[in-house]
């Protein structure tokens, strides 16, 4: 007997919950329904990320590393499914395999950075005065990510992982043309140990969501890997209103490219706090 086709309806991932777009709109990608996020979804996601920011930053670096490592394990266990998604979207199978493997490895790589960041970015500063002066890295806060179209999965993971490793929470706008890998990533991370709201993933029209994200006053930094110069310029202007930190990257197309400038990626979403403590003369 023929079975009726069971078509999946993907959801946005906001505050740890899988939700339809507040606007009720959806699009179709292949045989799948995907939500078309709205500006209010962006607002809700930023609010959820803000609520999650302090508890996430307060966790020990060791614990954040454990959680990210566990997320990499979860991603590895869904390897076959993600390869199939990427193949359906037009990658050939060896490309797709390499991309999923690289995504897992990148996540693992940044999981290892959590408890090394302070040692590398922090310092005891040599000052010519009777002070102990030291600098400590602190997370920037809520980081917006604009994911590239290709590679859809690796490009997203390469931008989200450093922000998480540095103790930030993330609101990411998925690729408009190839959102499925990102929506599947949400389902993978949703069953890992990542607390609700630490990562929020939205699908929809870039032209609608990205300006709303860039203009949101409660966002602290934006990492743009869209590769669209006009969008980047608009983001820079919007970000200037509340002095958000912005960085623009080319999409990371391999493991090597995603990790070769790890420290810059981490530093782009880290603040340095310097304290001067008087010492006896």
């Amino acid at each position: 007997m023929d079975r009726l086709p069971v078509r999946k309806t993907y959801k946005l991932w906001i505050g740890g919950a899988f939700v339809r777009s507040e606007s009720g709109r959806s699009d179709t990608v292949g045989v799948f329904n995907i939500p078309r996020g709205s500006r209010k979804d962006v607002r809700d996601a930023v609010a959820a990320a803000r609520r999650a920011a302090e508890p996430w930053a307060k966790r020990t670096a060791y614990n954040r590393g454990q959680i990210l490592y566990r997320a990499a394990e979860a991603l590895e266990s869904r390897r076959a499914q993600l390869i199939a998604v990427l193949t359906d979207a037009g990658s050939d199978s060896s490309q797709a395999e390499a991309e999923v493997d690289a995504a897992v490895d990148v996540l693992l790589h940044y999981a290892g950075w959590t408890d090394k960041l302070q040692g590398v970015l922090g310092a005891i500063n040599p000052v010519a005065a009777p002070f102990l002066s030291f600098s400590l890295p602190e997370p920037t806060g809520v980081v917006g990510v604009v994911a590239p179209d290709a590679p859809a999965l690796l490009g997203l993971v390469a931008e989200v992982s450093p922000a998480l490793a540095a103790g930030n929470t993330v609101v990411a706008i998925l690729s408009e043309s190839r959102p499925l890998a990102g929506l599947d990533l949400a389902e993978v991370l949703g069953v890992s140990d990542i607390p609700g709201g630490v990562v929020n993933l939205l699908s929809g029209r870039r032209g609608e969501l990205v300006p709303a994200l860039g203009a949101h006053r409660d966002l602290n930094a934006i990492v743009d890997a869209s590769g669209e110069p006009a969008l980047g310029t608009e983001l820079d202007k919007l970000a200037a209103e509340t002095i958000k930190r912005t960085s623009h990257h080319a999409a990371a197309s391999s493991y090597e490219l995603a990790v070769e400038d790890s420290l810059e990626r981490l530093a782009a979403v880290t603040e340095l706090k310097t304290a001067w403590h008087p010492v006896g003369a």
Partner: protein, 295 residues
Amino acid sequence: MSRQLAHVDRVGVEERAAALGARSIKTTAKQQGIRLAVSMLDLTTLEGADTAGKVRQLCAKAVCPAPAMPEIPSVAAICVYPALVTVAREALAGSGVKTASVATGFPAGQVSLEAKLRDTEDAVAAGADEIDMVISREAFLAGDDLRVMREVSRIKDACGDAHLKVILETAELGSYDHVRHASMLAMEAGADFIKTSTGKAASGATPGVCLVMLEAIRDYLDRSGRIVGFKAAGGVSTSKAALHRLVMVKETLGDDWLTPERFRIGASSVLNDLLMQYAKTESGRYGRSEDFSRE
């Protein structure tokens, strides 16, 4: 008065309350609504850790909630514990913002009537314009309606010229029937306002409770001709919730009730959300809480 009042239709009340919440309020109507809601706020601080300094800061914010947006009005009142009434009154002198004080062994009310009267007299003597009392839930739940009414009417006498708001603490009453009944008792006994909650219970001014109390006020007005105000307190923490309460008041009691003399919202955190949403209507940008002072 016996407990043989008509039952409240729980499903009907909740559906109507929810339907009124679905109304879309945008642009200039939203701005007007937000300004109105701010002018009806009882900005409240009722913590063990309240100090004179904190109350003074809150008073400054009550008088001028957003210096960058001068069209935002002052709030209606500051609500504090009796011991801080003097401080609030000094800080608010000449501003038109009223000083409200909780009294009668707030929030549990589990003290003797003498202690409640003394508490009230102290607050009035310190200069409170409004007194927020709690009813004896203990007496109400035991069925002793007479004691509930007698207490309210004795406290009303002790208030003198001060306005009396009677807190029902609806979360502890158990059902809409009880909420309606307690509303009637409070109004019969002389309440100037009836108020949902202390803000210390598990839930507060839920839409259903607000509607039941507003309808009780309407029915009491029809019967007795006396006007009683309503204060929604507890759980009104977003602009959306505040505007929803305004819609309910307008639809149940009419435009006459859309004034701080007859309707109040008791809250603390909602003010910043109202300001943030107002700024959003001006700038088109979603805001952040750090744009506004916490107190």
